[in-house]
Amino acid sequence: MSLPRIDAVDEPVAREAVAAGAPSQVASGLPEGRVAALAGLAGSGDRPARSPGQLALARLRRAKLAVFGLVVLAALVLAAVFAEAIAPYGENEIDLFNITAPPSAEHPLGTDELGRDELSRLIYGSRVSLLVGVATALLATVVGIAVGAVAGYYGGGVDALLMRFVDVVLAFPAIFLLLILFSITGSSVGGVILFLGLFSWMWLARIIRGEFLSLKERDFIEAAHAIGVPDGRIIVRHLLPNVVAAIVVATTLNVAYAMLAEATLSFLGFGVPPGTPTWGNMLNAARPNYTTAPMLAIAPGMALTVAVLAINFVGDGLRDALDPRR
């Protein structure tokens, strides 16, 4: 991927992208993610109050967090890819002598209600979580770019129509709608990706539209028009590179959102089919026994929290790195 022509970035695109990632969580409703949250965490408002030293310190700290996030994320991806080699037991291997056993040397995180090793299932579970997270975010990005680019580039009636549609989708209480959809279609990994993806593209679309509306008035676009570059090529080659930063950051944060959403839906019994080891399913299954086997409820939630934290750190780091004005 080529980096954006940063000198052409007029607005602090990247920072808005943060606001993009967050409200897409808000809009989709599932986890408690907020516009304010990430905007605040980014510390975008406190720059004037800082001395250069403090600024450097903060940047260093954020970079450290981003590196930490990358390391955790890399470990997670490795665990998912090499689950067979890393996990001490198979994902469905049953140990009849150890049912809801507490953590021991044999089973570091204990076993579940069927005598399956919790740690192993946790490792296998990262596969679905990551798959859903990445695939959903990519789908949302594709739809968001398409809608935002068309609306922003063509403007006028198309724009008005598309943006009203965005408003309607945003006005839906997403969690209710998602649950109804899953109760109709039944649960499947593909369904989770499709439905979550179709409910997380709106903020990116809005940002891209806004950027395009102002960018298309600029001289370089007029020049492109003048030499007869076709619309599609102008959008892809001349306009999109200017918003790559926003896209990258929003996509990253959407991965975290989708992972949380998948776990939420699975926990409620409507996401990935039960039996498949995912962190949400494990939490769902842990509920009846969690007073006697608390580790079954603690471990998947911790795994999810750490994964989401890592992705958020990476997202913040990317925003810092891609925003030339910091």
Binding site: A36, A37, G45, D46, P48, V168, F267, L268, A297, G301
Partner: protein, 316 residues
């Protein structure tokens, strides 16, 4: 201002109509159609089934049903619940106050804590408190809400036995005090995400204001820090914050669904799941519409309040 309000209200109507039409379409797409609940009942004869369809208007063509449904909606009539044989407004009305109670207490809690934490953190940026708060809010935002609820339940209700683990009223308890005891853990659960997010927001917008010239002026004329913050900074810092709250607040509905599930709180969340299990479509559609109305009203409120609080913004 009035013209702005009217225009925004008019703008909200097509939005809600869109939501209404879309939710109607989803119900039509459902396997077995909207009358699946009755059709599944083996003891029901074909004639009875036809009778019910006729009574409910389900034998009419879909467009006619849609128009009738929207027409009733405009008059505040959400239809009859398939499973409880009562008006949907009544069914929702029975549990809505419980959800509102949970949301209101959670909202108050997060407003108070977010403001206190945010301002405290802004007083000494990058100080000890700020760092701890920033660390915790990263966690607060990354945690799945329902998992946090489970952990609270596990620790404070099951392990320590300090608080009831589920429900709204105890077996032999009654009165507001009993409800309050049952409310503590769910309220913390529903509030945690916004405490984390909003406190960071208050912090950064307070810091932004602290760097303004008028603060230097206020300090120069000898005001103590506290008065500068209370009298000058907060007023300005809170303008954007209020709008953020108005936009976020309706989304407490989502948090309410999860929290109610974890703590068996008898509210909209539970009603929704009950209705989903028996495919009680009128109730499901009613909840969808109510949720959409809350979101739209929240957004509208955000715009209006923004204009009211800040005279520099002219609302037209």
């Amino acid at each position: 201002m009035l013209r702005f309000l009217v225009r925004r209200l008019l703008g909200a109507i097509p939005l809600l109509l869109g939501v209404a039409v879309l939710s109607f379409l989803f119900m039509q797409l459902a396997p077995g159609g909207p009358d699946a609940l009755f059709a599944r009942n083996a003891r029901m004869s074909e004639a009875q089934l036809q009778q019910i369809r006729q009574n409910m208007g389900l034998d009419r063509p879909a467009p006619e049903q849609l128009l009738r449904w929207i027409g009733n909606l405009l008059r505040g009539d959400l239809g009859i619940s398939y499973s409880q044989y009562r008006p949907v407004t009544e069914v929702i009305g029975d549990v809505f106050p419980n959800t509102v109670l949970l949301m209101a207490v959670g909202l108050t809690l997060s407003l108070v804590l977010a403001l206190s934490f945010g301002i405290l953190a802004a007083r000494h940026p990058y100080g000890f408190f700020d760092n701890v708060a920033s660390f915790l809010s990263y966690f607060g935002l990354a945690m799945p809400v329902f998992w946090f609820g489970l952990m609270l339940q596990l620790f404070f209700a099951v392990r320590l036995g300090w608080l009831p683990s589920a429900g709204m009223v105890g077996a032999n308890g009654s009165g507001p005090l009993d409800i309050a005891r049952h409310l503590i853990l769910p309220a913390i659960t529903i509030a945690i995400g916004s405490i984390a997010g909003w406190s960071r927001y208050v912090r950064s917008s307070t810091l932004e204001q602290l760097a303004q010239d008028y603060v230097r002026t206020a300090r120069a004329k000898g005001l103590v820090d506290q008065r500068v913050i209370r009298g000058h900074v907060l007023r300005n810092a809170l303008i954007p914050f209020v709008t953020v709250v108005a936009i976020d607040a309706p989304l407490y509905l989502t948090g309410a669904v999860l929290t109610e599930t974890v703590f068996s709180w008898p509210g909209m969340g539970r009603l929704f799941f009950d209705a989903l299990t028996v495919r009680d479509y009128p109730v499901l559609m009613g909840i969808l519409i109510l949720g959409a109305v809350l979101i739209v009203v929240g957004n509208l409120l955000a715009d209006v309040v923004y204009g009211l609080l800040d005279p520099r913004i002219s609302v037209r």
